[in-house]
Symmetry: C5
Subunit: 323 residues, 5 copies
């Protein structure tokens, strides 16, 4: 296969019936414009192909078909879906692909197509099918990665990990992003099917396309389920966290109650201990006339009085539940 664009164009002119596949990776505008001129590509499509960040779409310009496709990869470390973008121009005798990211491995698609002459002879639409098939197949690990992270998050939620809210939120954002890529693709595949019916593309290719459509639908439906599940998880997590925190507060409050109970008891005992001091104080007064002081049993009487006061207070406090 030729290595410069000029060689390719010459080759193509010299060999009628041949078909060229030109793959550009983040091309300079000049490079793309040269190809545009050679193959008569439409200005609007070329503009779109220079600027990335397009929505998956399909446009037919005369004999040329222009498709914007979005590939996806799952970066497991950061739990992010990384989107790539490929623009495909399909003409009678050429396929021009413009990649804006590394992700869809078009070289592999090319090898696969070249091994299948039966497919290739069905025309450039077959190449488009092969690229679409590869892109949709690449969605599977993304879905698996999301599923895996959701499973992990579920475990974290039910184990009470504290910072899972953020993870749920961020995965939710990735899921929204992925849906925004997947749904237009599905619409595009349906339009393409309708177009194939209208333009009489052969039945076999239509079947292949429906197969891709089925896979894409599976992806979109699962991702839709993920969104619902993440919303449920978010709600469950909020409920469980509040519940756990309230439970902790309850336990702390119970500790506080036990503590207060002890303070109460200490206070009550202190009061009991204190009462006999009063009697000691009375009989320690220095009045001239205190008859009890001269009783023979005065001292034992005072001691008995002290004990009596203590016991009385004890019983009183006990009855009031202060001890």
């Amino acid at each position: 296969s030729p290595t410069t664009l000029a060689d390719t164009y010459r080759d193509l002119h010299e060999r009628p019936g041949a078909m060229a596949w030109i793959g550009l990776y983040r091309p300079a505008a000049a490079q793309l414009l040269s190809a545009a001129e050679e193959f008569g590509l439409h200005e609007l499509a070329v503009e779109d192909a220079i600027v990335a960040h397009q929505r998956p779409k399909l446009e037919r310009y005369g004999e040329t078909l222009f498709a914007v496709l979005r590939a996806a990869r799952y970066l497991d470390e950061t739990e992010e879906v990384d989107f790539g973008e490929v623009h495909v121009f399909l003409g009678r005798n050429f396929v021009l692909t413009v990649r804006h990211a590394e992700s869809p491995d078009l070289a592999a698609v090319r090898r696969w197509v070249e091994d299948r002459p039966d497919l290739l002879k069905r025309g450039p639409e077959a190449v488009l099918y092969a690229i679409l098939d590869s892109i949709v197949d690449d969605y599977a690990p993304v879905v698996a990665g999301l599923q895996h992270d959701i499973d992990e998050i579920e475990n974290e939620v039910f184990l009470g990990e504290p910072n899972v809210s953020r993870r749920i939120y961020e995965l939710g954002r990735e899921v929204i992003e992925f849906q925004r890529a997947g749904r237009p693709l599905l619409d595009m595949l349906r339009d393409l099917s309708a177009g194939f019916d209208k333009y009489g593309v052969d039945e076999e290719l239509r079947r292949y396309l429906r197969d891709v459509e089925d896979h894409a639908t599976t992806v979109v439906e699962r991702v839709d389920g993920f969104r619902q599940m993440l919303q449920n998880i978010m709600a469950v997590n909020a409920a469980l966290v509040t519940q756990a925190q309230n439970e902790e507060m309850k336990q702390l409050t119970q500790v506080s109650l036990a503590q207060n109970e002890e303070v109460k008891k200490i206070s009550a005992w202190a009061a009991i201990l204190f009462a006999p001091t009063l009697i000691g104080g009375i009989y320690g007064m220095n009045f001239d006339e205190m008859p009890e002081l001269h009783w023979v049993a005065g001292y034992p009487f005072a001691i008995a009085l002290m004990i009596l006061v203590c016991v009385t207070l004890y019983l009183l406090f006990k009855r009031r539940g202060w001890l």
Copy 2:
């Protein structure tokens, strides 16, 4: 009925007008490929049949109809919906079923079909109808199981069981899964109906199919209701749990208030008891010149003073609400 594939093929060739039903259970790729070659099955369908985890779908390859169906069983112990997958190839004179799980009891379907020659003579579509009918009928116990668990969960929620959040969440996940199986089936049944209209399948079979469609719609609508109900339950449960926890906290706080009230009273009584000690201390001082000590009524006066102080404090504290 013959027992090896080769026998079956020979039988089929020898007896024109006969129809073979070949049932494979998790076949080796080779086995499936042999059947594919014999009956001229389409490569894409064969690929799908080897790998499971397809979406219910229907594809017409020339004279062969290929259907992916998903059966469901409810495992009550784990509250999980267990999905099985059957791939059905329908040709003029053969039915090839590839099962990837035990659940749809195809042997029973076969017996049922064999008992109904009126049905069988309507062609292979009748067999497809019978399988579909069996699968949709098998959804009924799943729906009943889900309903039963929802009823149980409702009871648990209103009885205040603590760990019901997780159960609600997990049942919700099963419901989402089940919806993901049921809705495409409904779409497929509608497509099939449309196809029957287009290909002029006989009216009687169409009626049978509409009957299956009605049952499938009932299932899908009920499961949809389950999803709504589980969301409501989740919300009610979160509200009730918070409410119950707040109520508990309120009661604990009221206990704490009662406790503090007691501590306050003990402190106040201690202060009252303490006051006369001061008087005792004063008249226990050893000054040379303390006139009261020499009064005849000095001692009763001191005691009276003590009582007066106590009563005054008592009234003061009472008025302030400290007792």
Copy 3:
């Protein structure tokens, strides 16, 4: 009118142009099968009519029309919607109704129809219209009952009734159930309209049917509004309950603060009362050499000291806000 099925059949054969209305209430299978044989009813429809719990639907079997309808009653005590099911077979010269519950008062419908020969002469579809009209009219009190309960619930929510959550949830479940009955009926009415257009049923009957459709739509839309309103009520209730509980906790906490303030004051007063005791203790010591004891003004000096200490502490505590 004849009283046994056999009589009816004979009558019908004897009087061509006559039309029989046979009403069965939870018939034995045998009874139904006899009627099925007589009128040539389709096996699938008969199966459906034996088992209840069907979805509202309409199926045309040759000349016979088969309809499954669901009537509803509102049980105000339990706030439940009670569903009845009627299966209607309409043929050229017969109407066969199979009821599985008491609710739709078919006798009244029959009397109404018999009073309107102009309607009856439009054929069996007129009878179907009359039954549909009666069923949809019976939805009105259900809607009114639901509205009434929602109004009550609103009042309860804003009055702060404690157990309204459960009532909201359960009414919500009834609303979901009712929607599950109402929406398929609406679809059925639309299909029936379409069928009437296709089969050229007379314009007048079509108008009557559209009238029923309008009423059914009003019901379905109002019930849809109920669902939204109940969700809003649920959210408001959760918010208000939490708010009220938090308010209560705040008040309890304020009570606790006031209580603590008192404890603090009691403690401070106790400390103030206590200080002079120290002086009393000092001058109650029995040392040989304590010059103050022999001062003439020793005793007043000690009392003054006591007062000074108290005032000092009082001012100190006051400044620190402890009193």
Copy 4:
């Protein structure tokens, strides 16, 4: 213009080509039935017109068009949308309007129409347009009123007004009610447009109708936005109220902590003050043999001991953070 119905009928018969507009306000059934007989109105439509609470709809009975319309007014004091209902019968030479509420000012519509003979000559549909236009124009102040109340509610929410929940809920209910009136009107306008296309109504009138449709769509879309906004406000309000309440609890708890700190300090100081009393008590004992009592420096020694104990305790408590 004639004042009794009978006069009107006679006028109409005498002047072919004339057109009568009869406006009834909550007519007695008899009055309506007389008009029905005169103009050959359909029984179903008349029944609908007697009973109010219909859904906006349009029905064509032969040459007569029957429309149910709902007008709306905003009662700002109660923040309620007040619905009126007009039933319009349109025939070749008459317009019969039946109002069930005061709101749509049909007299004004009539004056407007009479000033526009170019419009009137396009037939009775022009009158229907004028009524529709007036009703949809009257929706504008309702929308403005709702918007105004939503703005007020937003302010209240962010200012922390306590009882805004109820207002949000009730406005939400009005919005749901209004949507229930507006959406069927939109459907009706679309049906009417389709009917105009089908019945070849002149292009100019169709344009007028599309203009009304545009205005109605604007109303419905804004009200839809209101519903979303009210849900958001409800959520924000619940969050903010909880947040504010939690903040208050936090502040109360901080007050409580400060209070407890003071109690702790008072207790600690009391303990320090108390310690020297013990020494006073020891040297106040009356034992015969207490050598310290006879020391010359006994008294200063005791005082020093007291000071030492106080300082020691002070340092100890300080180190432990109790002071």
Copy 5:
């Protein structure tokens, strides 16, 4: 180019085949009516153009096309989307634009169009395309601004900024507003496409229009994603704020527990210190007969007793966990 309307009209009459672009900015009604008369504009369209606040729409009046378009700008300081409104009348030989706000820079559009004669020669629809393209292109910075603010809000939420609720709510309101502008535009573009197909506008222009439609769809889908994301953020924020507040309360409660523990210890130590005072009080009593007072070891015995009591209490309190 002429500067007064009258000049323009004259120029236009003098030069057949010429095309005039008249741009009015908030015109007086008279000015607009003069133009309306000159170009035969339809009354309804002129009425709409006088009053702003229309919904994006498209109406064909004979040979004149009337479009209402809404431009948007993002005011970053206030985080508000500022909407402008342009009304465009397109005739055979004129374009009349009526602006009600500054935002769509029509002068730039005009310059761009004048540089592209190939486009201009495709007729006035090309001008409409150019305006649409410019308006939709201007949506891009709005989307970017919203995205940027959402990113900021996410950071604030996860950093725990306190007043982010209001910002989320208000951005949500802007998003709802923007959706209300964007969706009808999309509908309008689809209607316009359909109209172009019907009226046989040339393929190239249709392609341009589809390009605008694609960009508008991207905008609407992203804004839809914003709405979902803001709802998620709102929920996450409410959860995180509650969580953080609960956490704070827990910490405050733990501080309180530590404090109470200290109070308990101080109380317990006070009680221990107090106990020996009782013994001091006993032996300070003045009874005549107190044998211990005369013991030689009386004093050491009392001291020992004091120590014993302290140690006993200490051990007791220790065992009970009061120290």
